[in-house]
Subunit: 728 residues, 2 copies
């Protein structure tokens, strides 16, 4: 599925010292002087082996047919990936789970007022694109969408966020018994259904508005990369922010004999029917809607003034699903570590797609296969990684990160002990711009490695291009505090929300995680036009960014696998957290100063005390700097014993932020510093407990969560002190 | 013309103590206890005399025909206003000036590539609206637009701001020899032509994009209040921010024998032809444009992806103007003061319109006539204002504030000595929301009077509704500084930019000025649909806001005319200036942190020292508070002599901010604290010299301007100290 690029401006308070790429004495990060040459030789093999042409050939093979999880087509793609790993000489395992999935049996949507009209649930064929008419393609449906019939007056609810429904309520409009029409964007689609369902809606239609990824953002396919009028965004409607994975096995693996929750008792999947539709069809409803004119910000890009309804248009929908357990296949290749084979650096990318998936996810699969070729070549050339590398090709990610979540739950104990880092790649390439999300301890490594990958078209490195863009974004977005001097710019990774396979590793197991992509204009997300022709015309015609992704992915993995001192650095951990906390403080302040809307029954906004968390963060910052100094000294001295002790501690450090009891009302999420927002799904909430308390206007919850965060931050600081001491 | 509602968010840093409406002991502001009853009785007559029905009848009469300045129709409307004043028993003068104006002789616009097609320069008739097909109506043209023929490839330049043209240049696209197509909005239309002309464009087309005031903002006329596809925004293309008024008599009055600058030597009017067009016609060009896709923010609301050109579409335009001196008529009624007849409170509203002008300006004229009826009735009931009130109905405002500017230049000396305040009303009513702009010294009076006018539909007062809206806007827009506690909310007036008749009074002569309107969705600005039907269907069907405007206008005028201590208060003068200065400081900081764009030849951003201005502002604040305390004491004591001395000083205070030499490169503008932006035209630049220096990246200019501002602020503080001393 991939995290759609929704950056909350309030979170984008980038700042601080840009770290000097390529100037560090200790380079690559964590490598003893004696091992740097060998590493450089191995990396050279990787960089030369991963090529645009290799990625192009893999992508063509991977995207021959649509391959939805649980279908024979997807099994064929799993077999292809397995055979590719095998032919590279890698050990490979296929792990099968039995996952609860749905496929559509029959779907229909009719306008019944003011005229009778069948609305299309398929994309239009395009002459120049053979892949626009695939055989055996499912019509429009939602992963984990419910079976059911519904009919009623249509009510337009903008993006279908909680705030949108609250605004409708203030306008006196209720979704009850109605078909709610919402547009894609801003929050994960499952949460739109949840908000509508919680308010009594009979059914939900989600359409792609041309203002969001259609003609208002660029020329539409086949003339350009953006969404044409008939393109449908499929996707899962699981209530992702409550927990991903197979809803029939919450918290444990979907093995053959696992105990199952029946459909009617599953949490986190809708009970009312829903369908995704194209803007060409949505227009036929929206144009006819009566009722009041929408609030200004709710207007989309169709060429008329939007109205809220109800009245003017009614529809009937009938959605019948084939639901049940279907086999899914995680394909996992293993490169054993020479020194610490139990330690795991895990690379993961999903393979299943709603359609052909040329971008999502198979641009990532094609890149990962090139990474694998590069690593295999380096092995043949004599490279011996200290730690074990796993390359995982996940299945059924699109339904709710199922393949990765079930595997992570299956191996929870081993991962908790041994995992060093998880590196994710989903929709890897839609254009030239590198975006990297991840935990702050991976920042230095991520920036360093990006500085070692050539920018294929503009010259320089992908790292320098990344820094230039980040610096501009920081200049315009970071708030100006007149009372303080401007903090210097510093590179940072975006916080990880959800919507891809790092979720179980980071949020459930506390494993340091990273996700990246090369991005550009991309409007055909989850439509039949996300195919090889699109990628080779618009996304990356020369496949050079696929190759860059493969090289970058490989470099980060090799360094994590081979550096004597694990390249996780904590001196820069506290600063982005401080920025995120400041954003939250601003948000809280704004809520306090905003007068209640007339007729609102909202509780008063809370004005909480952030001092304890600020103090604990400062302590974490100092401890991180101490640990970094120790790491530098150990590297400088080539101190094997110190490196071993320090690496062991650093690998475990992220686990200090876990809380066994989990977050408020969603125990599966255990990381206290980051989680998907309960009202966003994709976008990250830093300090999710504090954020929840501010959203809920609950001062007692804030105090409780603040205490838990302070304990975790202090625990991490303590572990850093101990790590530094252990290496002395 | 009226200032279109463009609020720069950086200027909207409202905050501070909301002043307690209705709780002041001294109420109305400046009135001795002994005179309050008489004032209340007179005000009651005003409030009861000004009625919705009166406004409706006046508006119907005023808008019978289109009445462009310099036409016989406009002379007929002048006669109507004169006779109305006369029949109320007021002294009335008609002041004639000979103004350089243009009317279109012939205009045409043709698409010549890729197909030949005549483009329409007239609005479409609408069956239900008899006024949509007026006899003798001019086709589309621009006031002060140049005659000429031009043809060439079309280049799209977004809003045609300086920043937009600079962006085109960075993309390697030059307007030279091309027809530039820009959309209305963001800056005054004349500046769009100036920017294009300065870069060698052959001609300019300005169209109204549906994203700005068409269907994306609401239903279009005749079904709703917004702009339909054929509606044309006429208007002046004078380079307003360099100076308004008749361009043949810059800085002096257009009397019969005045020396004239010939057309070819006039500054501040275009030399290249331009035309306004409707979006229905612009679409025929834009759809065909080739070249690169526009930057995201340049996309408008037409249903396709916009391209920049050139290539794909070429047009030919032919504009022939009838130019020359034409008579214009300012109609001025006088209510002589009983105590200080030389002191002037001036109410002004323009009368000329591009079409019928039901909103712009005759909603203001109809309201002012109701105000006049109210004042006349109060006079008959025995009211005796201390000071003289003038009611001015200006002509030729639409061309460039001509009638008011010529009159102000004609009476400059008298006004400098005697004017107490200028109260402007332009397009008075498009909906229910009161917006007030003005100098900070009129804040207390403006808020107090608004609290004494009933909100006709929602209950409460227009003041309480105004405060509620301002408070919400402040909550979301004012920056949050974490290092400081949140300042309390305080009402403030928006700073005055330009685009209406207060300009000569405030910016040239330093007379405390106010402007207000009741606003709502209004998309038919300067089109043939701005007619009586529109106002009575959408703007104010019951005419209750016309009556509210008349009552508010009258109350403010009566209090200024009769209070023993002139109700100008300076204790709150410094705070909005400080907010505006802080916004400028933030802007400067952002420029400093923003890295130069690749290929930019811009000078480095300046990082100036604001301390001297901040210190001088603080001093002004203290002096203002002292003067306010003195005023309160004088009122409390009923001290006639003190009131006389203090009022004399307060009336002159705004003049302290004038600088004889004027602003950088535009000497006609002499107010150092506020002016229209040189790159905005309508929107205000607080501290225009400092703003200019930051825009120009000129540290020496900043230092010089900072010195002038500090001197002016200190001079004002000194005058306030003296005023306080004089009343002791």
């Amino acid at each position: 599925m991939t995290r759609r690029l929704i950056r909350l401006t309030c979170l984008a308070a980038f700042s601080a010292l840009a770290i000097g790429i390529g100037e560090a004495a200790e380079k690559p990060l964590g490598f003893f002087a004696a091992s740097r040459d060998a590493e450089a030789r191995a990396e050279k093999v990787l960089l030369e082996t991963a090529t645009p042409d290799g990625a192009r050939r893999s992508l063509a093979a991977l995207t021959e047919e649509p391959h939805v999880a649980g279908t024979p087509q997807e099994k064929r793609v799993a077999d292809y990936v397995r055979s590719r790993f095998a032919e590279m000489g890698l050990d490979v395992d296929v792990v099968r789970y039995e996952a609860f999935l749905n496929h559509p049996k029959s779907v229909s949507l009719r306008l019944i007022e003011p005229v009778e009209m069948e609305l299309s649930l398929r994309e239009e064929p395009i002459d120049v694109d053979k892949d626009s008419t695939p055989r055996g393609m499912f019509p429009a449906f939602h992963g984990y969408g419910a079976s059911g019939r519904a009919e009623g007056q249509v009510l337009y609810a903008n993006y279908g966020t909680r705030a949108d429904f609250e605004r409708l309520a203030r306008l006196g409009l209720s979704p009850e018994g109605r078909i709610v029409l919402v547009r894609y964007g801003q929050v994960f689609r499952g949460l739109k259904i949840k908000e509508a369902q919680d308010r009594g809606a009979a059914g939900v239609l989600i359409y792609s508005d041309p203002a969001d990824d259609g003609y208002m953002k660029g020329d539409v396919y086949p003339d350009g990369p953006m969404r044409p009028p008939s393109a449908i965004q499929r996707g899962s409607v699981q209530f992702l922010s409550l927990g991903p994975g197979d809803p029939s096995t919450p918290g444990y693996a979907s093995t053959a004999h696992a105990k199952r929750v029946p459909r009617e008792r599953m949490e986190g999947v809708p009970r009312i029917p829903s369908l995704p539709i194209a803007y060409g069809e949505a227009e036929k409803i929206l144009r006819r809607l009566g009722g009041p004119r929408v609030p200004d910000e709710w207007q989309g890009g169709l060429p008329f003034s939007y109205h809220l309804g109800p009245g003017g248009a009614a529809v009937a929908m009938d959605v019948q699903m084939d639901e049940g357990l279907k086999p899914i296949y995680d394909v996992i290749a293993r490169i054993p570590g020479a020194v610490q084979p139990d330690r795991l650096v895990i690379l993961g990318n999903h393979r299943d797609a709603w359609t052909h998936g040329a971008v999502d996810p198979n641009s990532g699969t094609a890149s990962m296969l090139e990474t694998a070729r590069g690593l295999a070549a380096a092995l043949k050339a004599g490279w011996k990684p200290r730690r074990t590398i796993l390359l995982a090709s996940w299945d059924a990610e699109e339904y709710g990160l199922v393949g990765s979540t079930e595997w992570a739950e299956d191996h929870a104990r081993e991962l908790a002990s041994n995992a060093v880092a998880y590196l994710n790649l989903d929709a890897a390439v839609t254009g030239p711009d590198l975006d990297v999300s991840g935990v702050p301890s991976l920042r230095d490594l991520a920036v360093e490695a990006a500085g070692d990958v050539a920018e294929p078209r503009k010259g320089g490195t992908v790292g320098s291009a990344w820094e230039t863009r980040e610096r501009s974004a920081w200049a315009s977005r970071a708030p100006v505090e007149l009372a303080a001097p401007d903090p210097p710019f510093e590179m940072r990774l975006d916080p990880l929300g959800s919507g891809s396979d790092y979720t179980a590793f980071l949020d459930h197991l506390g494993i340091a995680s990273l996700d990246f992509s090369f991005s550009g204009p991309y409007g055909v997300y989850h439509s039949v036009y996300d195919n090889f022709r699109w990628s080779s015309r618009f996304g990356d015609p020369e496949f050079v960014y696929h190759a860059a992704a493969a090289r970058y992915y490989g470099l980060v993995a090799m360094r994590l696998a081979s550096a004597e001192v694990l390249p996780l650095r904590f001196g820069s951990y506290a600063r982005p957290l401080r920025e995120d906390l400041d954003a939250l403080r601003r948000e809280a302040r704004r809520k306090v100063r905003t007068p209640a809307e007339p007729g609102s029954t909202e509780k008063p906004a809370i004005d909480p005390d952030f001092t304890p968390v600020l103090d604990a963060l400062a302590e974490l910052g100092r401890a991180g700097e101490e640990a970094d100094r120790t790491a530098a000294r150990v590297v400088e001295a080539g101190d094997d014993q110190g490196a071993h002790a320090l690496s062991g501690a650093l690998a475990q450090l992220e686990r200090a932020f876990l809380e066994e009891a989990g977050l408020p009302r969603r125990p599966w999420f255990r990381h206290l510093l980051v989680a998907p927002g309960t009202t966003t799904g994709y976008a990250a909430w830093p300090f999710p407990g504090l954020n929840q308390a501010i959203e809920d206007r609950d001062p007692a919850l804030f105090e409780a969560e603040s205490r838990r965060v302070v304990i975790a931050l202090r625990r991490a600081a303590q572990k850093l002190h101990e790590a530094a001491a252990s290496a002395r």
